[in-house]
Amino acid sequence: MEYHTPGSFEDAATIAAKAEGVTRFLAGGTDVLVQLRADMVTPDVLIDIKQIAGVKDIAREEGGWRIGAAVAGAEMTEHTELGKEWPGVVEAMDLIGSTQIQGRATLVGNLCNGSPAADSVPALMAAGASVSVVGASGTRKVPVEEIPAGPGKTNLAKGEVISAVHLPVRGDNAGDAYLRFIPRTEMDIAVVGCGVSLRLDGPTVAEARVSLGAVAPRVLLVEEAAKAIIGTTLDEAALDALAAAASAACNPIDDKRGTIEFRTHVAGVLAKRAAKIAYERAGGAK
């Protein structure tokens, strides 16, 4: 296995483009090293991006935020200003693994691991986050929902690497939330996850985004669920419509953690609860 520590994302992308065999980028390593040790994925080329300037920075950017590709969950949780604006995103990241995992695990790693049950990804999609993808032809900004392709797969091409996550301007009267169902209190993988972000105009939901995890081959952005609450005051009828739309979007599998029937039902329940939290955070009284 070759181990590289490039000084820029352009160099990282070039190394990956020229690499032969299995290539992995290394940030927090909480998935890459597990797969390496379990002989699931043995990279021929491992590209550690942590020597690149700015990868550990959480910075203001055009009124929103830029979160470097190697920023760990614990660093996000400790950043009070980020947590005030995007509590759903920060809480979603914080749900992943233990204190030790939080010391290393990253948003970009969670996204690129391609798990349909990734906790931070529904929160990022709901937030309207995008990522910078660096490749041979330069850097492009891509919405988070265009990255996952299926279990363990992304739409990134060979020689492409994500350098940062971008969160948009939060603005006034807005809030987000992420909830997941697990059968324990901690240290588990989502059976269902749901992210909601919305903006209010008075008591009325003016904008909304709803995302579901662990109920389909990839994390879903559910436009029908958002439409169900836009223009409402999140009354009981709107919440029921939201739950129905969320459940209708589900295409889950049966496995040891949950049945198709259970996941489909819980998606609706979590969508309601997450929407209520986001609504309260946006300043709406309930």
């Binding site: 296995m1 070759e2 181990y3 290394l26 390593g29 909480t30 090293l33 597990v34 390496l36 040790r37 379990a38 491992l46 550690d48 942590k50 760990a72 614990a74 693994g97 233990s98 204190t99 030790q100 995992i101 010391g103 290393r104 901690e186 240290m187």
Partner: protein, 159 residues
């Protein structure tokens, strides 16, 4: 396969080693630096027996490559006692018999020391969540939690 040369700091001492790029920090600590306090329980980041600090951040040394230690400051259980004098947490773990087989103990101690540095007055719930990634299959956690809370109270009184 060529070996990677790494310069790092372990428990305040400057250390250099050569390692294979696939070796974890835990492999390096145990097999190259003879620091066998950190244990390999699962090797997948679930059990916390390999807990160390890297630049004061608690991590699983099984989920980090030795090569990544370049320029970092590593803290292990071997650096916890001051010579013959045990750390208050170590004293209290003995007093409470907060261990049986001892495999998880170094990781639990490193993790709780990191907690008390960050939060000198944790609630029981905070201690339990902080230690959710440190699995003990012997004592059932209760003595561990009580030992940590009692140490925290003592340290607050002393400061």
């Amino acid at each position: 396969m060529s070996m990677i040369h790494v310069s790092t700091t372990v428990n305040g001492d400057e250390v250099e080693f050569l390692c294979d790029p696939r070796e974890t920090l835990l492999d390096v600590l145990r097999d190259r630096l003879a620091l066998t306090g950190a244990k390999e329980g699962c090797g997948t980041g679930d059990c916390g027996a390999c807990s160390v600090t890297v630049d004061d951040r608690l991590v699983c040394s099984c989920l980090m490559l030795g090569a990544e230690a370049e320029g970092k400051s590593i803290g292990t259980i071997e650096g916890m006692a001051d010579g013959e004098e045990l750390h208050p947490l170590q004293e209290k773990f003995i007093e409470y018999a907060a261990l049986q087989c001892g495999v998880c103990t170094p990781g639990v101690l490193v993790a709780t020391e990191a907690l008390l540095k960050k939060n000198p007055d944790p609630t029981e719930t905070e201690v339990r969540y902080w230690l959710a990634g440190n699995l003990c299959r012997c004592t059932g956690y209760d003595k561990i939690i009580r030992a940590v809370l009692d140490t925290a109270a003592d340290l607050r009184k002393a400061s």
